[in-house]
């Protein structure tokens, strides 16, 4: 595999993660347990989809990719490279909150690394994204600590949410094809390095919250090679429903 192709794979999986989690976050609009949470998940959805758009534009401008809207709305599940974690339905609030916490710290370490990438367009994009992500992790950390220290029932539900999420979160770091090429070119440090940094980011918060970090025994892989849960196609059907009525329409 050529380096250009490996780079496209990297950008595509990042963008697909952002788009799909963005859509899932937006499903809390109107349903948040309190108004501030409704607004927070809606705002984070907007940020995620903005980052997805910026990444799809990189594909379009640097690799001769298709128009971002077409790319986002017209592909089927098998063409997506997102991890299973972001595909899962919003479920309970504690699951969505835990996913937000685990995912946003993963994204933070990724963009921190990409800010130093030898692929110059990453530096620009990562500089912007990591500033915005501060607000996401601030939000996640505050709620995780708050709910984990709010009594027995609350703490148990948060621990259960973590136990249910952790192997799925491992799927964020599924190694990509030919990533050693990208590591050698200092384009990015590779998934296992990011995984270690991620652990060092989430551990202090977990400790403060009194959460027990599970062992990563069976990370849920498959998404990066186009194998998905049935939830993804359902999400894509809904997300692209209006767009597919008239793909040539201008808005």
């Amino acid at each position: 595999m050529q380096i250009q192709q490996a780079l496209q794979e990297l950008i595509t999986k990042m963008a697909d993660d952002e788009l799909v989690i963005g859509h899932r976050n937006s499903e809390w609009t109107g349903l948040g347990p309190v108004m501030e949470e409704d607004i927070a998940f809606s705002s984070m959805a907007q940020d995620k989809i903005g980052h997805a758009l910026a990444l799809y534009r990189l594909l379009e401008e640097h690799f001769g990719g298709t128009d971002p809207d077409q790319f986002a709305f017209l592909r089927n599940a098998a063409d997506f490279r997102c991890c299973h974690f972001v595909e899962m339905p919003i479920g309970s609030y504690e699951f969505s909150l835990m996913r937000h916490f685990l995912f946003d710290h993963a994204e933070t370490v990724r963009y921190q690394a990409l800010a130093l990438s030898k692929f110059a367009p990453f530096q620009h994009l990562a500089g912007k994204a990591k500033g915005e992500l501060k607000y996401h992790t601030l939000h996640a950390d505050a709620w995780i600590i708050q709910l984990c220290t709010a009594g027995k029932d609350s703490r148990e539900r948060m621990q259960a949410a973590l136990d249910n999420s952790f192997q799925l979160a491992g799927g964020i770091f599924e190694p990509g094809p030919a990533e050693e090429l990208l590591i050698a070119e200092e384009i990015y440090p590779g998934e296992s390095a990011l995984y270690k940094q991620w652990l060092s980011h989430i551990s202090p918060v977990m400790e403060k919250a009194g959460l027990v970090l599970p062992e990563m025994t069976a990370p849920v892989y498959g998404g990066r090679t186009g194998k998905h849960t049935p939830y993804l196609q359902q999400l894509l059907n809904e997300m692209g429903e209006v767009f597919r009525l008239d793909p040539e329409a201008t808005w």
Binding site: E36, S42, D47, K128
Partner: protein, 163 residues
């Protein structure tokens, strides 16, 4: 000479152009304009969004184009500058004063990195008290956070510091 006069006219035109979400600030005060050039084709303006997913960006681009073309009677080309990222230090001192008068706490100046204190310790724009807390890092627009003042009992918004 001709060009200088034209440039001044462009800046004058931009000064009249308010942000759709913060109607007391123009696009120059917000630090959204990164370059203005005039050549035989017309006026070339480069601009940047505050937050990457700012939904107002296309509207602002169009407003700039329409205003400059109307005021100068020459073609205007507005594009997003990919070399520069917006950060909250780009807000001018006047802009921060106007924000406060409008009831939005302005972001403090940062040294390249935003720390937690800057997000949490915010003076109330209504009564000036330091006795406030961050209610949510997300507000009515991507660039705002929600705070509460324990002194005067008012909710208020802060324009978020961004590095």
């Amino acid at each position: 000479m001709q060009t200088i006069t034209t440039l001044q006219a462009v800046y004058h035109s931009l000064e009249q152009l308010m942000d759709p979400e913060i109607p007391v600030l123009n696009v120059l005060e917000l630090g959204m304009i990164t370059d203005v050039k005039v050549d035989i084709e017309g006026v070339h303006i480069k601009m940047i969004p505050t937050f990457a997913a700012c939904p107002a960006i296309d509207l602002i681009k169009e407003n700039i184009k329409n205003a400059v073309e109307k005021d100068l009677q020459m073609p205007a080309f507005v594009s997003v500058d990919k070399e520069v990222n917006w950060n909250s230090n780009r807000l001018t001192a006047e802009a921060k004063e106007k924000l406060r008068d409008f009831g939005i706490a302005p972001p403090g100046r940062h040294e390249g990195d935003v720390n937690l204190d800057m997000l949490v310790k915010v003076n109330c724009p209504h009564c000036g008290s330091e006795n406030t807390y961050l209610r949510s890092p997300f507000g009515s627009t991507l660039c705002r956070a929600m705070h509460f003042c324990k002194q005067c009992g008012m909710m208020f918004e802060q324009f978020k510091p961004l590095s």
